[in-house]
């Protein structure tokens, strides 16, 4: 009887182990399959076509060029590799301003031919129209139906996932935003965290430590939205005044909030590592005539360096993956950050902010999953570094 019980407990534990791993793998698979789906989308919205007059020498346009043309940032074909000819942008809605309703027919049955007529009449035209209306393409050049190139996503510097006719999914601004904010966060948290952990493990009396340590660990338990709130009402106005900024929501505000959030992780892990430095090490150093400070920086810190590094890297991990607090204080401008005092946007904040409004299964939605994949790789890299550092032999 006892044996059966033991066996079943063993199977239960085995099963729970397998189920957990399976679920985790499933989540990763889901993330990857959705993310990779982005590259099966076309650069132009589904069901639409971008058409040019046949006399136009331009054969292909990148998503970026299409966006600039329709935003009227480019107004001459010369800038898109064509002849010196002004660009005339044509959207379906423009049809009504050119032709009367009678000409188009009561059920717009003539719309197709009128569109064709317009395109044939204007050499500099670029038309963004439904494919179904443009059945006869004689004398018309339609842009080739290319899928979103990987390069445009991974090396693209513009993130306009809702632009028409061709959305842009350049992740660089978001990636740069994430790394930029995290970098400054660690730059702030690192010296501070190290000082606190050295103080707690080496200098503070038992009494002080018994108060300080729980307080710092308590910081870990505060929900991130509370940090975000604090950042929004304290740090953001403070920075705005201090640097005389038009808006206080900036990368630096995010970095400061993240630094506060990463601090407990750095402090607890680093302090534990230093406390684990055996008494015999300290005694050996002191017995040789070293003073307390020499002992700390020549023996204790080198001895616990792998633990300290793990703490720092875990702190970076916390900063990179943090969503809510950053979303609240960084201003969320998806532009390449040039200064830490400007608004920027991180990967997790983008996912959180945009997932709600991205239609399921479409390019925008899938692009957010791709961001998830990127984030996954960043944190995976960080976790592997922690493993490597803490397993390294002294």
């Amino acid at each position: 009887m006892k044996k059966i019980l033991e066996q079943s407990v063993k199977y239960l534990f085995t099963a729970s182990g397998f189920i957990t791993s399976f679920i985790i793998l499933l989540i990763i698979f889901f993330l990857f399959s959705e993310g990779a789906g982005l590259f099966r989308n076309h650069i132009i919205d589904d069901g639409y076509v971008v058409a040019l007059n046949k006399s136009n020498p331009v054969n292909t346009l990148s998503a970026n060029q299409i966006k600039e043309i329709f935003d009227e940032d480019i107004t001459n074909w010369q800038e898109a590799g064509g002849e010196d000819e002004p660009i005339q942008v044509f959207r379906l809605s423009d049809l009504l301003s050119i032709y009367s309703e009678e000409e188009l027919g009561s059920e717009y049955e003539h719309a197709g031919s009128k569109i064709k007529e317009t395109i044939l009449q204007n050499e500099g035209i670029i038309a963004f129209v439904p494919k179904s209306l443009l059945t006869d393409t004689e004398g018309i050049k339609t842009m080739p139906d290319q899928t979103i190139p990987v390069k445009d996503v991974l090396a693209g510097t513009e993130w306009f996932p809702t632009a028409t006719p061709s959305p842009l999914f350049g992740i660089l601004p978001l990636l740069a935003g994430t790394l930029w904010v995290s970098f400054f966060a660690i730059l702030i948290a690192l010296p501070f965290g190290l000082c606190v952990s050295i103080y707690m493990s080496e200098i503070a009396s038992e009494k002080v430590r018994n108060v300080l340590k729980p307080v710092i660990e308590l910081l870990n338990g505060i929900p991130s939205v509370v940090y975000g709130f604090f950042g929004l009402i304290v740090i953001v106005p403070f920075l705005q005044q201090l640097f005389n900024l038009p808006v206080g929501e900036s990368g630096l505000a995010g970095s400061l909030v993240l630094a506060i959030m990463a601090l407990p992780t750095i402090v607890t892990v680093a302090e534990d590592a230093m406390r684990n430095c055996p008494r015999s090490m300290r005694e050996a150093s002191l017995a040789l005539g070293a003073n307390k400070w020499q002992t700390i920086y020549k023996v204790v810190i080198p001895y616990s360096i792998s633990g300290i590094t793990s703490g720092i890297v875990l702190g970076i991990g916390r900063a990179v993956g943090e969503t809510m607090a950053v979303l609240m204080v960084t201003g969320n401008a998806a532009v390449m950050p040039t200064s830490i005092l400007e608004p920027l946007r991180t990967i997790p904040a983008t996912i959180a902010a945009e997932l709600g409004e991205a239609p399921t299964g479409e390019a925008h939605y899938q692009s957010l999953f791709l961001l998830g994949v990127i984030l996954f790789f960043i944190t995976l890299f960080i976790n592997l570094s922690v493993e490597y550092i803490s397993s390294r032999k002294r």
Binding site: S280, M281, A284, A287, L288, G289, P302
Partner: protein
């Protein structure tokens, strides 16, 4: 001439009276062994000589300990300077997680010696003095953790000797080692005696009789008997000493 002089030393861990009115003198360039059962206070007494017990909170000392005639618990004593003069080797080998060379050079560096040639010379000299040179001369840059336990302990002795102390305290230096390594350490002690005064705590009575000139027997925080090693082991005055060395308790 005596180098260490303890006068009516009482020592307390909190309310526990660990050492009771101990007075003794230790002569220069001699080897003194402290023996006694576990918890009798011999290590505590040893650690008073380089103020290692300062690290333990809630301890209190009464009486005086003079080294070279100076009260080492006096007001104008610099503890790090004292510890440079009174080196220590611990029960378990405790090399730093550094290279063999760096381990020996450590004491010199923290004492402000910057000249690399001087450091190198002292490192080689100390390793030779600790009978370790031949074993490690080709791997000075290797981690000290790559050495065996006995080698590590001799490295710790070399490390302590590098700063040229006058006194070397050894707290059961061979208790974690195998018999061959122990024999090497004992031989080393006999050799080092020419340069320094050695105070050694040991559980091993044969060891005490082999290496020491004088032996002190501690029991329950008191120094029961202190005299020439030969006398203590062949003709002890007190019954407790007699019982201990014949193995009736302890």
């Amino acid at each position: 001439m005596e180098i260490i002089k303890a006068q009516h030393v009482n020592f307390y861990y909190g309310s526990f009276h660990a050492l009771k009115d101990i007075s003794m003198e230790i002569e220069e360039k001699s080897v003194v062994a402290f023996i006694g059962p576990s918890g009798c206070g011999k290590s505590t007494f040893l650690r008073l000589f380089n103020r290692m017990n300062d690290l333990i909170p809630k301890t209190r000392l009464e009486g005086q300990i003079l080294i070279n005639g100076q009260d080492i618990y006096g007001k104008n004593i610099q503890v790090d300077q004292l510890r440079k003069e009174v080196g220590m080797v611990f029960q378990r080998p405790n090399p730093f997680p550094k290279s063999i060379y760096e381990n020996v050079a450590y004491g010199l560096k923290v004492n402000g010696i910057k000249n690399q040639d001087v450091i190198e010379e002292r490192v080689v000299e100390s390793l030779k003095g600790a009978a370790l040179w031949d074993e490690v001369k080709d791997k000075l840059k290797k981690s000290a953790y790559a050495l065996s336990g006995g080698q590590q302990q001799r490295l710790c002795i070399a490390r302590a000797m590098a700063v040229s102390p006058q006194i070397l305290l050894m707290d059961e230096p061979a208790s974690a080692l195998d018999p061959i390594s122990t024999a090497k350490i004992e031989e080393l002690i006999r050799e080092l005696k020419k340069q320094v005064t050695i105070v050694i705590v040991t559980h091993n009575m044969q060891q005490a009789s082999r290496v020491s000139d004088k032996t002190a027997f501690f029991y329950m925080g008191e120094m029961v008997e202190y005299g020439r090693t030969k006398d203590i082991f062949t003709n002890p005055e007190k019954e407790a000493t007699q019982n201990y060395i014949t193995g009736r308790f302890g």
